[in-house]
Symmetry: C2
Subunit: 70 residues, 2 copies
């Protein structure tokens, strides 16, 4: 089963920031595709099955950014 | 002879941008040390002898940024 989840990331300022987030989130087990929109901070994560949102939040923090409260 | 030259770089928004500029400018022949201040855009380049400013400007552009007119 393929799942899509969205998050809002705060603090990204440029394409390098986008790359960092994509790289870290892409390393989370089960994640198959990651899209990031710099202007809005929208992070879209596709995965095989569901992925614990805490793992996505941790990956974003690892990259140096924050997920906005939802 | 050691020479120090300063430039003002426009468009850097974060630490990743600073790293990109330092990396590209650091690869210019003769450059011995590079410092970048994100807040002000100040780029300080130490070199053995003098380096053609056009090469520094080109390196900054290679990194994706601009040197302000002086």
């Amino acid at each position: 089963m393929s799942t899509t989840a969205t998050y809002t990331v705060k603090g990204m300022t440029c394409g390098h920031c986008v790359s960092s987030v994509k790289e870290e989130v892409g390393e989370v087990a089960g994640v198959t595709q990651v899209e990031v929109d710099l202007a809005t901070g929208l992070l879209t994560v596709d995965s095989d099955g569901s992925v614990d949102p805490a793992k996505i939040v941790a990956a974003v923090e690892e990259a140096g950014y924050e997920v906005a409260n939802r």
